[in-house]
C-alpha cells in the first residue's frame, strides 16, 4: 500500500489559486522530489500534508487513513516526521535534549513532573545522533550550532518517532555544496533501510537528480510532470517552465 496518497488537493488564498487538483502517491522507501519554480505552490502543498494548512478540497491519506486537516501534532503521532525550510529546533537545549524531546513525546511521557530528562531516553537519542554523524555534537546547545548541523539535528528529531513518512522542506537550503550531497545520501540510506517514504522539495537540481527516485513538477499550482528523473529532464513542458532559470538543463551534472 502507498504510504501517502494525495487526491485532488486545492488551496486558494484570496483570489490566488495556490494549489489546484494535485494528486500523487508515495511508496515506502521511495525518495520523491517535489520541484517547481518559486511560487509554484510547493510549500503550500507541503504544509497541507502535515496539517499546517487546511486544504479547501481534496484528501490526504496516510497508510489508508484520512488525515486531511488534522492538526500537525496529531499527524506527527500517526507517523509523519517533518523538517523545515528554516530550521526550527529548541535553541535553549542541547542537541541530545532536542532529540530526547521528540522521543519523550513519542512515548507520551511529557507530562512527567519528577524524573529529570537527563536520565530519560538519552541512549536512544545518542544512537540516533550517531547514525546521523552527530554524536560529537550531542552535548552542544542548538543555539550555537552551525546551520548545516542544525539540519542534521532536525532530521534526527524527525526520525525519533519511527515515521512512515518524512516531509523535508528544502532539506539542504543554506548548506555548503559538499554537505548537501552527504546529507541527502544519508537520508536516502536511512529511508531505504527503514522503509520510510521521503517527500522533499529542493532548489538544488544536483541534489534532486542524484537522489530522487521520482520527481513531481509543480507550476502555478498544477502538477505538470511526474516520473523518473531522466523522463522529467527530457519533458518539454518542464524545460519550458525552467527555461533560463537554473542548472537542471545541463545533463551530466547530476552525478548519475
Amino acid at each position: 500500500m502507498a504510504t501517502l496518497e494525495v487526491e485532488a488537493l486545492e488551496k486558494r488564498f484570496g483570489g490566488v489559486q495556490a494549489v489546484r487538483g494535485v494528486s500523487f502517491a508515495i511508496r515506502p522507501g521511495e525518495m520523491l522530489a517535489l520541484i517547481g519554480p518559486n511560487g509554484a505552490g510547493k510549500s503550500t502543498c507541503f504544509n497541507m500534508l502535515n496539517g499546517q494548512l487546511r486544504p479547501d478540497a481534496g484528501r490526504v491519506r496516510l497508510k489508508g487513513r484520512d488525515i486531511t486537516g488534522m492538526a500537525p501534532r496529531r499527524v506527527w503521532r500517526l507517523g509523519v516526521g517533518r523538517t523545515f525550510q528554516i530550521t526550527a529546533t529548541f535553541g535553549s537545549m542541547t542537541v541530545r535534549e532536542n532529540v530526547q524531546m521528540a522521543l519523550l513525546s513519542h512515548h507520551r511521557r511529557l507530562m512527567r513532573l519528577w524524573r529529570p530528562v537527563a536520565r530519560m531516553d538519552a541512549s536512544a537519542a545518542d544512537a540516533l545522533l550517531a547514525r546521523l554523524g552527530m554524536a560529537e555534537q550531542a552535548g552542544r546547545p542548538c543555539g550555537i550550532l552551525a546551520y548545516g548541523d542544525l539540519k542534521r539535528v532536525e532530521l534526527a528529531i524527525a526520525l525519533a518517532n519511527d515515521p512512515a513518512l518524512l516531509l523535508m522542506d528544502e532539506p539542504t537550503a543554506g548548506m555548503a555544496p559538499q554537505e548537501r550531497v552527504g546529507l541527502m545520501a544519508l537520508t536516502a540510506d536511512i529511508a531505504r533501510e527503514r522503509g520510510i517514504a521521503v517527500l522533499f522539495t529542493e532548489h538544488d537540481m544536483d541534489v534532486v537528480f542524484s537522489h530522487a527516485d521520482r520527481i513531481l513538477v509543480l507550476d502555478r499550482g498544477t502538477l505538470i510532470a511526474e516520473g523518473a528523473p531522466a523522463a522529467v529532464r527530457a519533458d518539454p513542458r518542464v524545460r519550458e517552465v525552467y527555461l533560463g532559470s537554473g542548472n537542471m538543463m545541463s545533463p551530466g551534472q547530476g552525478g548519475h
Binding site: A88, M93, E97, M101, L110, W114
Partner: protein
C-alpha cells in the same frame, strides 16, 4: 432596568436629562483618558516599549502646571500658558529619559524595558515628594470656564464641556500630523515594521526621540488639564497608568483611532457603570478588557505585530547546579536553619516574608522563564491563596492546616480558569489580560464587603496553637516554601519543564513533534498559580490578616522585580532576586524615607549594566573566569 425600556413615559421625567448629563461627563473623562492613552500608544507603536512611566509623566504634568499656574500672573495667559508650559516641560523630561535610559535598551527584552520604566516611576515618585511634599495640592479653576451652563435644565460645568472638545481636537491634530507630514508617515511606517524603516536609512534615533517627546507632551498635557478638576497628588501616576493601559490594549496597541474608541468606551462605562452596577464599578472596566481581548486578541483596532526579525540570543541549556552554586546554596540553607533561634521577633517576621517571597518569585519564574509568558497579575494567585485560607478560617472554621491545604487549590483553580484565556494570547496582550484578571480578583475582594470585609480585610487568621510561636512558624514557612521551590526546580528539569521550554523556543517545532503547546502553557500557568497560592496562604497566617492589597498591582510588580532582578534565564535567579529585593526594600525603608528613589535608581542601574539579572551576571563572570562557554 427601570430607567430605559420602551415605556419611557412611566420613567422619572428628570431621568433622561440625568442620563444625558452622565453621558457628557463620560465624554469628558474619555477625553482626558485619550490624551494620556494616545501618547502611550504612539510610543509603543514605534518603540515597542510598554512605558510604565507614562503615568509619572502625567503626574508631573499636573504638578508642574500647579507650580506654573500658581506662580504666573493670574488670568488667561497665566493659566493656559502654565498648562502648555507644563506639557512642554514634561516633553523635555521625557526626552531626557529617552536619551539617558530607553535609548540604551531598545534591543533588550520587553520585560526589561518595563522594569526600567518602573524604576523611573519609583524615582519620579520620590522626586515629586521632595519637590512638592506629601499633601494634596489644589489648583485654581480655569479662567473663563469657572461657571456652568444649563443643559436640559440641569447644570453642567463649562470646564467639562471644554474637555469634551479637547479630545477630538487633539485626535484630529494627531491624525493630520501622522497622515499629512513626512515625519508622521515615518512614524506609521515604523509602527508597522521597525526594522524595515531602519533598513531604509531613516535616522531611527531621531524618530524614536521625537516620538517619545510627543508622547510625553501628550501625557503632560493630560495631567495639566486635570488641574481644575481634581487635586494633584502622588498617587496619580499609578491610578492613571492602569486605566491608560486598559484603553491602549482595548483599542489595540499602536492604534490611535483604537485608543480614541476605547477611551470613549471606558469613559462612558465609568459614567454609566456607577448608575447601573454600583456594586461592581471597579470590576467593570477590567471585565470589558478581558472580554475584548478574548474576542479580539489584538484589541478593537489593533493588528498582529510583525514578528521580530532578529530573535534574541537563545538561552543557555540548563543543567545540574555547578559546585560553587551548590556550596553557596548549602551555606544559605545552613544559615536559614541555624541563625533564626538567635534572631529577634522582627527579624523572624522579615525572614518568614523572605521565604514566602522566594516561593512567590519562583512560581512567577516558572511562567516567565521556562514558560516564556509574561504575567503582570501574578499577585492574583498569591492573594487568592491568602483569601482562600482566610475565608476558610473565617466562614468554615478551618484549622491552619486545612487553610494551607486549601490555598493552593483555590489559587490553582482560578489559575486554571484565568489561564485558559491568558495563555491563548501572546506578549503584551497576554500580560495585560493577566493584569485584568488580577484587577478583577482585587476588585471583588475590595467591593464584596459582605464576604471579604472589603478594605477592612479579614482579621484573626492566626496559626494553630502549635505553630503560633514566631520561630515555629518561620520553620514551617521555610519548609513549605523551600520544599515547593525545590519541587518547581525539579519540575523544570523533568519532561514537563522541558516541554514548557520547548514551546517557548519554537511553537512550530513543538507542534511538529506532537507537543500541545496550549495545553503545556495552560498547565504551567496553573501550576505556577497553585505554587503562588501556597505562598499566599502562608502569608495570610503569618500576618494574621488578609487585605485586598495582597493582590494589588504593586504586589504583582514586586514579583516581576524579583524575577527580573535575579535574572529570568537562571534557575537560581528568582531566589536571589527575592532575597535581594525583599532585603533591599526592608533595609531601605528603615534607613531612608527616600527608599523609592534609591530602589528605582538601583533598578535602572541594574537594567543598564546587568541586563541578565544578578544571577545571570554572576554566572557570566564565573564562566569567564573558568574559560567556559
Amino acid at each position: 432596568m427601570r430607567w430605559c425600556g420602551p415605556s419611557g413615559r412611566r420613567a422619572d421625567p428628570a431621568l433622561l436629562e440625568n442620563l444625558v448629563l452622565q453621558a457628557l461627563s463620560g465624554l469628558a473623562s474619555a477625553s482626558s483618558l485619550f490624551l494620556v492613552a494616545s501618547g502611550l500608544t504612539v510610543i509603543f507603536g514605534v518603540s515597542r516599549i510598554v512605558n510604565f512611566a507614562h503615568g509619572s509623566l502625567y503626574m508631573l504634568g499636573a504638578y508642574l502646571a500647579w507650580t506654573l499656574v500658581t506662580n504666573l500672573p493670574r488670568g488667561h495667559l497665566g493659566f493656559w500658558g502654565g498648562v502648555l508650559g507644563a506639557a512642554l516641560l514634561v516633553g523635555l523630561i521625557g526626552l531626557v529619559v529617552e536619551v539617558l535610559l530607553l535609548r540604551r535598551i531598545y534591543r533588550a527584552p520587553e520585560l526589561f524595558q518595563l522594569l526600567a520604566t518602573f524604576g523611573v516611576v519609583l524615582i519620579v515618585q520620590d522626586l515629586a515628594l521632595l519637590a512638592w511634599g506629601p499633601q494634596d495640592l489644589l489648583g485654581p479653576r480655569a479662567p473663563g470656564l469657572r461657571g456652568s451652563i444649563e443643559i436640559l435644565g440641569l447644570r453642567f460645568p463649562l470646564y467639562e464641556l471644554f474637555l469634551i472638545g479637547v479630545g477630538p481636537v487633539v485626535l484630529g491634530l494627531l491624525l493630520l500630523l501622522f497622515h499629512r507630514t513626512r515625519w508622521g508617515t515615518l512614524v506609521r511606517a515604523a509602527t508597522q515594521d521597525r526594522e524595515m524603516v531602519g533598513a531604509l536609512g531613516v535616522n531611527q534615533r531621531m524618530l524614536f526621540t521625537s516620538v517619545f517627546f510627543l508622547g510625553s507632551v501628550l501625557a503632560g498635557l493630560g495631567g495639566a488639564l486635570q488641574l481644575p478638576r481634581e487635586s494633584v497628588n502622588l498617587h496619580m501616576d499609578l491610578s492613571i497608568i492602569a486605566e491608560a493601559f486598559v484603553v491602549v490594549v482595548v483599542g489595540g496597541l499602536g492604534s490611535l483611532s483604537g485608543a480614541a474608541l476605547a477611551a470613549l468606551l471606558i469613559g462612558e462605562l465609568h459614567a454609566f457603570g456607577i448608575l447601573v452596577f454600583p456594586k461592581i464599578t471597579l470590576v467593570l472596566v477590567f471585565l470589558v478588557m478581558a472580554v475584548v481581548l478574548v474576542v479580539r486578541p489584538h484589541g478593537l483596532l489593533g493588528r498582529p505585530a510583525a514578528a521580530a526579525h532578529g530573535a534574541g540570543a537563545a538561552e543557555p541549556p540548563i543543567g545540574p547546579a555547578p559546585r560553587p552554586l551548590k556550596l553557596a546554596g548549602g551555606a544559605a540553607l545552613a544559615l536559614a536553619l541555624l541563625l533564626p533561634p538567635f534572631a529577634g521577633n522582627y527579624a523572624l517576621t522579615v525572614l518568614t516574608d523572605i521565604a514566602i517571597f522566594v516561593l512567590f518569585a519562583a512560581s512567577l519564574h516558572l511562567i516567565m522563564g521556562p514558560g516564556g509568558m509574561a504575567s503582570f497579575g501574578h499577585a492574583a494567585y498569591f492573594g487568592l491563596g491568602a483569601y482562600g485560607a482566610a475565608l476558610a478560617a473565617q466562614w468554615l472554621g478551618a484549622s491552619m492546616l486545612g487553610g494551607l491545604v486549601l490555598a493552593p487549590f483555590v489559587a490553582g483553580l482560578f489559575g486554571l480558569l484565568f489561564g485558559w484565556f491568558c495563555v491563548r494570547l501572546s506578549g503584551v496582550y497576554s500580560a495585560m489580560l493577566t493584569l485584568a484578571f488580577a484587577q478583577i480578583a482585587w476588585s471583588v475582594a475590595f467591593q464584596w464587603v459582605e464576604l471579604t470585609g472589603g478594605d477592612n480585610g479579614i482579621l484573626g487568621v492566626w496559626p494553630d496553637a502549635w505553630a503560633a510561636g514566631k520561630l515555629t512558624y518561620y520553620y514551617l514557612a521555610l519548609a513549605l516554601c523551600l520544599g515547593s521551590t525545590l519541587l518547581l526546580r525539579r519540575i523544570i528539569h523533568a519532561p514537563f519543564g522541558y516541554a514548557l521550554r520547548a514551546q517557548r523556543d519554537s511553537v512550530l517545532r513543538a507542534e511538529a513533534i506532537g507537543i500541545d503547546a496550549f495545553r503545556i502553557r495552560w498547565l504551567g500557568f496553573t501550576l505556577a498559580a497553585a505554587a503562588a497560592g501556597i505562598a499566599g496562604g502562608l502569608f495570610a497566617y503569618g500576618k494574621g490578616s488578609v487585605f485586598p492589597t495582597t493582590m494589588a498591582i504593586s504586589r504583582s510588580v514586586d514579583a516581576l522585580l524579583m524575577v527580573l532582578l535575579g535574572g529570568v534565564q537562571t534557575l537560581s535567579g528568582p531566589i536571589i532576586g527575592a532575597l535581594a529585593f525583599t532585603g533591599l526594600q526592608e533595609q531601605l525603608v528603615r534607613i531612608t524615607d527616600l527608599w523609592r528613589l534609591v530602589l528605582g535608581s538601583v533598578i535602572v542601574v541594574l537594567v543598564l549594566f546587568f541586563p541578565q539579572g544578578l544571577a545571570g551576571a554572576a554566572r557570566t563572570a564565573w564562566e569567564r573566569r573558568h574559560g567556559d562557554t
